[in-house]
């Protein structure tokens, strides 16, 4: 199954049910699997909304210390957070109409138009993951492990 997901990764095809299975996941990642479940995301959004309502209500009953005029208004920070976030997003979408160009606009003098040199990376799939640990790193540092050769850039 892991090999299957690697083939999907190589071909750039979106993963199907197999690649989201527990075998293709790191153990720690399983605590975050709920993010793939629409129902869990809806529950998360509901909780976020309730927390926001509670925070807004606290503002009404709790007289805050202020240092700037207007800061003490009910929900001042909540409104600032919501409104400015929306404003930035809308402004960016508007700006994009005028400032967006193709990825190769500055080619060939811009790295956007080229791939990162493959020789300077180590593009392993999850199935090919090396079994490197702190002790193996320690051994490399002490010179007792010869497998820790560097990859990025030319060595001299």
């Amino acid at each position: 199954m892991a090999m299957n997901s690697d083939k999907q990764a190589d071909s750039g095809v979106a993963a199907g049910a197999d690649s989201t299975g527990p075998e293709s996941m790191a153990p720690l990642a399983r605590y975050f699997r709920w993010t793939d479940n629409p129902a869990s995301i809806d529950r998360f959004i509901r909780i976020l909304s309730y927390v926001c309502v509670v925070l807004f209500l606290i503002d009404i009953v709790w007289p805050r210390y202020t240092k700037v005029p207007g800061e003490g208004l009910w929900g001042f920070y909540a409104i600032i957070g919501f409104v400015f976030f929306s404003l930035f997003v809308v402004a960016s979408r508007f700006l994009r109409l005028f400032t967006e160009r193709g990825a190769d606009y500055y080619a060939p003098d811009c790295v956007d138009a080229e791939e990162y040199p493959e020789s300077a990376t180590e593009q392993l799939s999850h199935a090919q993951r090396p079994n490197d640990t702190l002790s193996s790193l320690g051994r490399q540092m002490l010179g007792r492990d010869t497998n820790g050769s560097g990859r990025e850039g030319a060595s001299s």
Binding site: A29, V68, I79, Y106, D109, C110, H126, R129, R151, G153
Partner: protein, 563 residues
């Protein structure tokens, strides 16, 4: 000999001997030197040390006080973490450049005079460009050249400024300068370029994504923070900095939101964070200067952490394009958690480092009566949530499933990220540790109920806005594209218009020559007509007539003289 034991020189000596060592020892040198140099640095008592007299000038290479020490400490930590992160790198060029660059940056913050500051200033420019060129692609070479030109321009302005300043005052001391003369204005401009002031900023977003994976992490730590230090030293309380900083904090946000390259998003984010520090310097109070120093300290850590996590993804997938990534939490959970800590820190979530440093600057601007600037910084804090805290982790690790299943980052990268994340949390939980390092003692308590409440209101309602905009489809989708910035002026518009301008100049030149030749031809014709046989100038004139003409001329001269 003891002078050579000063931290900047230790780095330079290490850079010199580095190429002659075996590869493992070179990597170990990158870990050992920052630790050793930090111990040496902390052993220096406050005051001026390592003073060399060169052609009549006393150059001070170690001016130790609380302001320089806090920057020296964070630069050492950054050098150590980037050395660990780059453990796999065996490229001598990058290793030498990293050591020389870190040494030059540390030299810059301990420089006690403008001449030694200039030397280190140029040192950072020359050393750091090799971290871009080490990518060894034509585009990286071109980008590195643009970066070098701008950095050297900053150095030339600093040199010109210091010469004019020396001519005016007879002093090369690097103390408070203020915007009082041409010399100090030139120095201010030089600092402004390295600090990425608005309109002078584009080198940052252009060059940082072009460096190598590890080079980007190194670059993010030093140059800009050294410039913040230089501003704090030379221009604290300069009012114009407040407004420059406010604009700086705000304008990169809009560019970052729709940017596809996540390393460039982080570069814009770094630029925005610098705006907070510049505002703090501009206000000039003890609290705000300390806030700037604290924010610089925290920013090196969380910004480095974010660059490291994106770099780890590039190392495993070969790209930092948001449009090609997504769903990586499945196989890179440690990188994801570290990225989330960096995101929480930069957006100033309570218990993370940004919360205890950013609020110092915000409160200082509020107390100072700069209400609009305070509001701008508040808006910029929300902007940080938009373009970094949500966008980077969401598009990398969650969002749609790109189908990529890369292996987790190598253990040394994970270790460097975990240490950086740990420091972000430790500073957030125990702010007193950071506050004890600040240049001025501050009696500030970030963890009041009011402060925590308003911060959660700000952040969670911003998150709610994200959810709402995402639901209604207004949140922008990232696509492979280039967003124009001010560099379009010198990268596209001027080169595109240059042939036209050159043709116009050539046409103007040709018509001017034609006109001049025409005038000369006409003049020659007149002379020729006057001097041909029988013409007035060729005729024989009587002596009486000549005398008459001479007398008339002399009378005219006499009259003119009397007038």
């Amino acid at each position: 000999m003891m002078n050579l034991m000063a931290p900047p020189f230790l780095y330079l000596i290490a850079a010199l001997i580095c190429p002659f060592l075996p590869s493992r020892w070179r990597a170990l040198l990158l870990l050992g030197i920052p630790v050793f140099a930090l111990m040496v640095m902390l052993a220096y008592p406050a005051g001026e040390h390592v003073v060399w007299s060169v052609v009549g000038f006393d150059l001070t290479f170690m001016r130790v006080d609380k302001l320089s020490t806090i920057f020296g400490i964070i630069f050492s930590i950054a050098a150590l973490l980037s050395g660990l992160y780059a453990w796999h790198v065996r490229d001598t060029v990058q290793q030498v450049a990293t050591l020389a660059y870190a040494g030059a940056a540390i030299g810059g913050v301990f420089a006690g005079d403008l001449i030694s500051l200039f030397l280190w200033w140029e040192g950072t420019a020359v050393a750091s460009v090799f971290l871009i060129w080490a990518r060894r692609t034509p585009a990286a070479t071109a980008t590195g050249m643009r970066y070098l030109l701008i950095q050297v321009l900053s150095g030339v302005l600093l040199l010109a400024g210091l010469l004019v300043h020396y001519h005016d005052t007879g002093s090369i001391a690097f103390e408070h300068l203020g915007l009082v003369s041409t010399g100090t204005f030139l120095i201010f401009l030089s600092f402004g370029i390295k600090c990425a002031f608005p309109l002078l900023h584009n080198w940052l977003a252009d060059a940082y994504p072009a460096a190598t994976i590890t080079g980007t992490v190194v670059l993010s730590a030093f140059t800009t923070k050294m410039a913040v230090y230089a501003l704090a030293r030379g221009y604290a309380g300069t009012e114009v900095l407040i407004y420059i900083g406010a604009v700086m904090a705000l304008f990169p946000i809009i560019l970052a939101v729709v940017e596809d390259d996540l390393q460039r998003v982080l570069a814009y984010s770094l630029n925005s964070q610098l705006g907070f520090m510049v505002v703090g310097v501009g206000i000039g109070s003890d609290m705000s200067i300390s806030g700037s120093a604290a924010h610089a300290f925290c920013s090196v850590l969380y910004q480095g952490l974010l660059f490291m996590s994106v770099g780890a993804v590039v190392y495993r997938t070969g790209t930092s394009r948001a449009s090609r990534l997504g769903g990586l939490y499945r196989t890179m959970p440690v990188t994801m958690l570290c990225c989330l800590v960096g995101a929480a820190s930069i957006s100033a979530v309570p218990l993370f480092s940004g919360f205890v440093s950013k609020s110092l600057i915000l409160d200082a601007s509020g107390y100072n009566g700069n209400y609009l600037v305070w509001l701008a910084l508040l808006a910029a804090s929300v902007g940080t949530v938009v373009h970094t805290s949500i966008k980077v982790p969401f598009t990398l690790f969650f969002s749609h499933d790109s189908g990529k299943r890369p292996a987790e980052a190598p253990v040394h990268m994970r270790l460097a990220m975990i240490i950086a994340a740990f420091l972000c949390v430790i500073i957030g939980v125990f702010p007193g540790l950071l506050y004890s390092l600040l240049p001025f003692s501050v009696d500030y308590h970030p963890y009041t109920f009011d402060h925590v409440l308003v911060q959660f209101q700000l952040l969670l309602f911003a998150a709610l806005a994200f959810v709402v905009l995402k639901k209604i489809g207004l949140y922008p989708r990232t696509v492979a594209s280039t967003m124009l910035d001010v560099d379009v002026i010198y990268r596209k518009w001027i080169p595109a218009r240059l042939p036209l301008v050159a043709r116009r100049v050539a046409d103007l030149n040709a018509s001017a020559r034609q006109s001049a030749l025409g005038l000369l031809g006409n003049g020659y014709g007149v002379i020729e007509r006057l001097t041909r046989p029988g013409a007035p100038l060729a005729r024989g004139w009587s002596v009486a007539s000549m005398m008459f003409v001479v007398i008339v001329l002399m009378c005219a001269v006499l009259v003119l003289n009397l007038l």
